[in-house]
């Protein structure tokens, strides 16, 4: 459904941010792109979003090449990036301006209700906590019902408890609409908590190093042995030691083939 074909982005000569990334994402799949900072994962996400143009290669959604921001692709940034002069409801409805007002209100109210923010519509963004603001920004991207939702380290600025609760909110929203979800993260636990598949990137040059399926049952128990093993496999891929026989064994344990 979403296809990346040998995608490269070179900012300056000799500094390839992303090189030769090919990826096939199924409809409704949740993919975590995991990597340390500077490995090109944010660059990759921006290419998929159409915010930046690739140097080589293509991104295509259901056969249509993505060259600019596309109505079927929603983006959630690392910071909430709410517009401070719009209240919460207006921020959520930002992408719905070409809809009739009544429909807009209905969809915004339903969305706020779903993440526990009913009654917050008239508040200003500055009155929200970090977790509330990020929920509003996720709603803003999802309320237009995109087929693909791209998220760039959306929870990295939040504390662990808030992050875990937002994971639940996000999975609840995904359950309702089943968009394809691509989450960039450097948090291995987040990847295992959310994703069907972890794409591990390594830096210099930014490239895909491993593609690890995570078919743990949902809802996922963060304390289960399978969860811990899956984290260990991703960590091994991150530091490049996945080749070790032990890691290969663990990868099978976490759920099958990982190339």
């Amino acid at each position: 459904m979403l296809q990346l074909e040998s995608l490269s982005k070179i900012f300056a000569p000799d500094i390839p941010a992303v090189t030769g990334v090919s990826l096939d994402v199924a409809p409704g799949e949740i993919v975590a792109i995991v990597g340390s900072s500077g490995c090109g994962k944010t660059t990759l996400l921006r290419l998929i979003a159409g915010l930046d143009a690739p140097t080589r290669g293509t991104v295509s959604l259901e056969g249509e090449t993505i060259r600019a921001p596309h109505p079927a692709i929603g983006v959630v940034f690392q910071e909430p990036r709410l517009l401070p002069w719009l209240n919460v409801a207006q921020n959520v409805g930002f992408g719905l301006m070409d809809h009739a007002a009544a429909e807009r209100y209905d969809r915004v109210d339903a969305a706020l209700l779903r993440v526990g923010l009913a009654g917050y519509g008239a508040r200003w963004p500055r009155e929200l906590s970090g977790g509330q603001a990020q929920r509003v920004s996720i709603l803003r991207a999802l309320v237009t019902e995109p087929k693909v939702l791209l998220m760039d380290e959306p929870f990295s600025a939040l504390d662990a408890l808030t992050r875990a609760s937002l994971h639940d909110h996000l999975l609840g929203l995904w359950e309702a609409q089943r968009p394809t979800l691509i989450v960039v993260t450097h948090d291995v636990e987040e990847a295992v908590a959310l994703a069907d598949r972890a794409v591990v990137m390594q830096p210099r040059p930014g490239r895909v190093f491993a593609d690890i399926p995570l078919d743990l049952p949902r809802p996922r128990d963060r304390l289960s042995p399978a969860f811990t093993e899956a984290k260990r496999v991703i960590l091994a891929a991150l530091d490049g030691s996945l080749e070790a026989p032990n890691a290969r064994e663990k990868a099978k344990y976490a759920g099958g083939a990982w190339w």
Binding site: A49, L51, A68, P69, H70, P71, G74, V75, F77, E79, R81, L83, P84, W85, L86, N87, F94, G95, M97, G116, A118, G119, Y120, A122, R123, W124, R126, E127, S129, G130, G131, Q132, R135, L158, L161, T162, S165, L166
Partner: protein, 278 residues
């Protein structure tokens, strides 16, 4: 709720007036007891009487009207030019490279230095005065608007891009609201300088206006008239600034100061109480 807001306002008014009122009373008492020489330092009662006499004869209003008319013309021209050029250099790097060095060089010239030239070019009547005020207003507005535009958060513009806003929609829905607060500040400092330069212009020769009252009071040895004119300037300046702020207030409600939001959340929380944690 309304009552509470009113009493809050009157408390604030009383607090703000405490120092000027005390000073006026002490001043008045000092003058009556002969501690100051009342001829050169007229007490508030004399100033008030002078002001009243000027108002009753209609003279005061004519002077205020003359001053405000000059100010309005100068401020209008200066602010408009400042907004347009500031927007241009803020939005376009080419325009900035082309125009900004020249404008900054002109800004380095003390505005009063233009006076002899303006009088030669435009005569001694209204045109040269309006030109001087416009020059004074132009620079702070230009600088403020340019800075407002160059300081727009690129991350917020990117939100507009992600939602595929057309350039027009991006301007209307993102750029204008983003620069508005700083533009209002720029207009306010422009207005302040406008008042400064309207006095300067009128001191250099005018047959009416509050600045004329100042000069007339000096030449005829009437310090009470000078102080009455100064008082009128203070009131007019405060009213104009307040009107400017009030005009933009509906668009800047979202920006209510931190202190206000604290008072409000302590007094009456809006909507449902905050949820625990996140």
């Amino acid at each position: 709720m309304k009552k509470r807001a009113n009493s809050l306002l009157s408390t604030r008014l009383a607090t703000g007036l405490a120092i000027p009122l005390t000073a006026a009373i002490l001043y008045e008492a000092g003058a009556r007891l002969g501690i100051f020489e009342a001829r050169l330092l007229p007490p508030p009662s004399r100033i008030a009487a002078t002001l009243w006499a000027l108002a009753a004869s209609g003279e005061l209003w004519a002077h205020i009207a003359a001053t405000m008319l000059r100010l309005a013309a100068g401020f209008g021209i200066g602010a408009l030019a400042g907004i347009m050029l500031g927007a241009l250099t803020g939005a376009s790097q080419t325009a900035s490279r082309l125009l900004d060095p020249t404008i900054q060089a002109l800004r380095a010239i003390p505005s009063l230095a233009w006076v002899p030239l303006f009088i030669l070019w435009l005569g001694i009547f209204e045109a040269s005065k309006v030109a001087l005020i416009a020059v004074g207003v132009f620079f702070p507005v230009y600088l403020g608007v340019m800075a407002a535009i160059t300081n727009i958060d690129r991350k917020i513009i990117e939100v507009g891009r992600a939602f595929r806003l057309s350039p027009l929609a991006l301007t209307r829905r993102v750029l204008l609201p983003a620069v508005l607060p700083d533009c209002v500040v720029a207009l306010r400092s422009g207005l302040g300088l406008g008042f400064m330069f309207v006095v300067a212009a009128e001191l250099m020769g005018a047959s009416e206006g509050l600045g004329f009252l100042l000069l007339d009071g000096q030449q005829l040895g009437k310090p009470d008239q000078i102080l009455a004119a100064i008082f009128a300037f203070a009131v007019a300046g405060k009213i104009c600034d307040g009107a400017l702020v009030a005009a933009f207030r509906p668009l800047l409600r979202w920006q209510d100061s931190f202190a206000q939001s604290l008072t409000r959340s302590a007094a009456a929380p809006l909507g449902p109480p905050p949820l625990p944690a996140h």
